[in-house]
Subunit: 109 residues, 2 copies
DNA sequence: TAATTGTATCGCAATATTACGATGTATAAA
DNA sequence: TTTATACATCGTAATATTGCGATACAATTA
């Protein structure tokens, strides 16, 4: 049916999956890297940096914004995007806890 | 066209996106949590633990295996799944570096 | 050998994603 | 007020994902 059964899972599982999904695209990873490396916020330079159409970039930015990973503020004609520090740290800690919860045991397959 | 332009991006960006995508589903997060918390490897108990059909679970396991996040070994009738320690640590470090590369600056939007 | 058990795969329907041209919108400059 | 610039949104085609019933397969057990 192509519809994820969200009601089966916990809110945390769904939220984590949502955040990971928002990042799970090479273009969106590239966008995040650009935003981070530009220190200050980047605007529509992304269209030139990456080789994608303006409509496509705008769509990817929207998804990152919807997930709460980035935030955008209008600055005259341009829009300034930057990392949402709250979500970023939350996700960082959640992933850290998740990955840290695994301890390799030698008696495994 | 519904086809990701992988050739535009670096191998690292594509690989990271692939790994994140494999994890970006609540069922697959739940499966990983189960595998981790069961310490030793879990088998088809997953079908009972989660409320999904056997075919669906098998498909999710296949995706995690294809991405290299888990590995499965046949043990008689059952199949034993566990975390692939190499990929796990690699992803852990890569994500750590990625999230750590962001330093919040106050002069931002 | 036949039946049972645990998984994998096939095939399908419903839905979601990706990419982009075309077009809309809002601000700034002429 | 017209024009230009920077984005956002719409609509659409191609493709991918999700979930599951049905079925195949492989290894034990009777």
């Amino acid at each position: 049916m192509g519809l994820t059964k969200t009601e089966i899972f916990t809110a945390e599982q769904n939220r984590l999956a949502q955040l990971l999904k928002a990042m799970a695209h090479p273009a969106r990873i590239a966008i995040l890297q650009q935003i981070i490396s530009a220190n200050a916020c980047i605007c529509g330079d992304l269209v030139e940096e990456l080789g994608l159409a303006q409509a496509t970039i705008s769509q990817h930015l929207k998804e990152l914004k919807n997930a709460g990973i980035i935030q955008g503020t209008i600055e005259g004609v341009t829009v300034c995007y930057c990392i949402n520090p709250v979500t970023w740290k939350l996700l960082e800690h959640q992933l850290g806890a998740f990955f840290g919860s695994y301890k390799a045991s030698p008696d495994c397959c």
